[in-house]
């Protein structure tokens, strides 16, 4: 599929990759741009300058080493727990939906929702900070009442694509889900 250019809600460019493995299974991957080197530099420099300023007044070298330590640990934590590299959604007909997000460090979290639990996939609106955004979400069935929705699982939580991207994903998801 051709890659259109999409943006997330903050206007940053993201890329959507749709792969159709067969008529029964489709995979959507939303990739977020990598960590910019400038941002890392700014962060590192600010921490080190601060540490140097403290060192200048206290003349304690432990400050400098701890600053290096803090930057390293902070970056590691950031790429391991915060920075999401890409999020993917696999829709498999009659089996279920799999959501996974992989972090910049390579860590991957995956969860699979069986088809028997899924009611539908919809695009929803939400108030986010001071704006209204759209998001894609999976509606889960309530086991006791077949018509009720017990909970909602939002998709692409960290990349937050805009509506045009969501609509595209939504349409091809519905194509698979509605096939019987």
């Amino acid at each position: 599929m051709e890659d259109e250019t999409f943006t997330d809600i903050n206007g940053k460019a993201i890329s959507l990759d749709c792969q159709s493995h067969s008529s029964l299974c489709r995979e959507f991957t939303v990739s977020v741009p990598k960590v910019s080197i400038g941002k890392v530099l700014v962060f590192t420099c600010s921490v080190w300058l601060l540490a140097y300023a403290v060192f200048f007044f206290t003349e304690n070298t432990a400050v400098l080493s701890s600053a290096i330590f803090v930057t390293l640990v902070g970056m590691m934590l950031y790429i391991h727990f915060v920075k999401v590299d890409h999020e993917s959604l696999i829709v498999i007909h009659s089996l279920g939906i799999q959501l996974s997000s992989s972090f910049a460090s390579g860590r991957e979290t995956t969860s699979f929702i069986e088809m028997s639990k899924i009611k539908d996939i919809v695009i929803n609106e939400a108030i986010y900070m001071h704006q209204i955004i759209y998001y894609l979400c999976v509606l889960l069935k309530d086991p006791s009442e077949p018509d009720a929705v017990s909970s909602v699982v939002p998709l692409f939580q960290s990349s937050k694509p805009r509506l045009n991207c969501l609509v595209k994903v939504y349409k091809s998801c519905q194509e698979i889900l509605s096939k019987c």
């Binding site: 029964l24 299974c25 009659s94 969860s111 086991p143």
Partner: protein, 592 residues
């Protein structure tokens, strides 16, 4: 309709033969469990399947045929199709794999009531892309799974005990997991056995280890009986009448050693029960208890080894008394400082002197008590150290109790200060209402206005003034002694937390999660396997292990720290009002 075939990875290269497995009711899916190889007598296969069915207690049938043509084996196709008449099934799967190709092809033969074979086939030409028949065809998804992992894994969230009939039947994946786990007897057939049937499926490699496990199980029975007997004696002793008298029972509920003892007894009682574990959770709980007990005891042994090696006990005893003396001296200095004008605060000198002397006298008493005790401390430590052979937790609890006993003077000061302060605060609050001409209406739980007599007003104001001007002095004493008390409580709290950690941390479950991550499954994840155009969709099912935090949450042994505690705000309010705080939880059953 889409057919899902769960196919074990170990059967990928199996010789041609029959597929043995089961259909999952309610879903269009088949779980292939084993492949019975080609040279077979159909009657024997039927008999074998019946036998296995009886042993595993679940449904088991011949699902279809499997062909992986080796060189020189041509023309199997029609033979395999004819087999479907021998094994009457509603649907007959015919799975083919070409050598050198990764993808499978599958044909489904459907049979209706009349016994007439209706054939619908999914024949996706490997070479060509002509899929003109697709609209009519039944589609197949192959889900490959690793038999061993699926067999041993436990899918969470667990249904506690028996599944509830009210909720809907277990989901497809759960049924699939259950059917793999339930057909363990099928996997006993060894590859190298000289039987009439040969089959391919997962095989245990560690027969020897399983023999060891069996031996251990046998050995654990008398051990449990012995333990149970010892426990019954212990219970008999602890239930004796002497121990249920008031002061002893009160004391034992406050001493952390006794609390720890009762916890351990409870654990041992659970372990020594003759009944096997009811479910997976219960089993893991028991295993956790065993492991944490063993770790505890070994840590305790380590402590004993350190304590008794170089006469560390007497060293400790020799430092303990001067330390207590030192604390008392520091307290004395603190009191002297408080009796002056501490930090330039405006204290009432007379009250200050009275309080200071009172506390000084207390410290004096305390020091003489310590000196009276000092010859015995070494002995106490020596015998107390022996308790570590029951486990590190006992030693820690004993330490906590000893700290509590050694800082009893601080506790006393705190109680005096808090009581005085509490009295003042309550007096001031009610007199302030009087000052404004209001009073607390108990019946309506609100403040009402009230007209007081002249003499009531006069005396109230007099007392109010006195209390108001004396408040800073009392508050300062209270503050200082509360801080001291908080230090002690903090220390005891850290000890309690560590004891609690050892008691309740699910070591076995976490170890299982780290070494055999497939054993505790949160769910599954799929990967799209082969991308050959034209073949059916192949997915690889992997097991998504449970998160470590969830493991700890699910399997921790319940202890007292799991219950909700006072919030910080409540604690601060208590401190402000002058209520007493304790490291242990108050039994709040007095309300009824």
């Amino acid at each position: 309709m889409v057919l899902k075939v769960f196919f074990p990875q170990c059967c990928n290269r199996a010789d041609s033969g029959l597929l043995v497995g089961r259909w999952i009711s309610g879903h269009d899916s088949a779980v292939v469990l084993a492949v019975v190889h080609y040279p077979f007598i159909p009657g024997q296969v039927k008999q074998y399947v019946q036998q296995m069915k009886a042993q595993s207690g679940g449904e088991l049938s011949v699902l279809g045929s499997w062909s992986l043509p080796k060189d020189g084996q041509e023309g199997m196709e029609s033979f395999l199709r004819d087999l479907s008449t021998i094994f009457p099934q509603e649907r007959w799967l015919q799975i083919n794999r070409q050598l050198g190709k990764t993808g499978f092809t599958c044909q489904v033969l459907q049979r209706d009531q009349n016994g007439k074979v209706i054939q619908r086939e999914t024949k996706k030409k490997v070479e060509g892309g002509d899929e003109e028949e697709e609209e009519e065809e039944e589609k197949v998804i192959f889900v490959h799974y690793e038999q061993k992992k699926v067999m041993f894994s436990q899918l969470h969230p667990l249904e506690n005990g028996v599944p509830d009939p009210k909720t809907d039947p277990p989901s497809e994946l759960r049924q699939m997991f259950q059917s793999v786990a339930g057909s363990a007897p099928l996997f006993f057939l060894d590859r190298y056995d000289d039987g009439p049937l040969k089959s391919t499926h997962w095989q245990s490699d560690g027969r020897e280890a399983s023999i060891l496990v069996e031996l251990l199980k046998q050995a654990s029975v008398p051990l449990c009986m012995l333990l149970g007997w010892l426990l019954s004696i212990w219970t008999w002793i602890s239930n004796a009448r002497v121990f249920s008298l008031f002061p002893l029972r009160f004391l034992s509920s406050k001493l952390s050693t006794c609390v720890q003892l009762s916890h351990r007894t409870e654990h041992m009682r659970t372990l020594s029960s003759a009944k096997p574990a009811a479910g997976h959770t219960h089993f893991i709980r028991k295993a956790n208890m065993v492991v944490s007990f063993l770790v505890d005891v070994s840590l305790g042994m380590l402590l004993i080894w350190w304590l008794y090696r170089d006469d560390h006990i007497s060293m400790l005893a020799n430092t303990l008394v001067p330390a207590a003396d030192h604390v008392a001296k520091e307290l004395e200095e603190l009191l002297q400082w408080l009796m002056g004008a501490p930090a330039g605060l405006k204290m009432n000198r007379a009250l200050d002197q009275v309080l200071g002397r009172f506390f000084l006298y207390h410290i004096h008493l305390w020091i003489s008590y310590i000196h009276l005790m000092s010859p015995f401390i070494e002995g106490i430590l020596w015998y107390g150290g022996l308790s570590a052979c029951f486990g590190l937790t006992f030693a820690l609890s004993l330490l906590s109790d000893m700290v509590a006993l050694l800082t009893f003077h601080i506790y006393c000061f705190y109680v005096y200060g808090a009581r005085l302060y509490c009295l003042k605060i309550y007096g001031l609050s009610s007199l302030w209402r009087l000052f404004r001409g209001k009073k607390w209406n108990v019946l309506r739980q609100r403040v009402d206005s009230c007209s007081y007599d002249l003499d009531q007003l006069f005396i109230g104001t007099l007392l109010f003034t006195v209390l108001l001007f004396l408040l800073p002095t009392t508050a300062l004493y209270y503050l200082v002694f509360t801080l001291l008390r908080l230090v002690v409580v903090l220390f005891q709290g850290v000890i309690h937390l560590s004891v609690d950690f050892i008691n309740s941390f699910p070591l076995f479950a976490v170890g299982l999660r780290l070494t055999r991550s497939h054993r505790l499954a949160e769910g599954v994840k799929f990967r799209v396997l082969c991308e050959e155009p034209g073949t059916a969709l192949h997915l690889l099912m992997e097991i998504n292990p449970l998160k470590c935090s969830t493991v700890v949450q699910n399997y921790r042994t319940p202890t007292y720290s799991c219950y909700p505690k006072d919030s910080w705000a409540a604690l601060i309010k208590k401190l402000f009002v002058g209520e007493l705080i304790y490291p242990w939880r108050h039994k709040t059953t007095k309300t009824d």
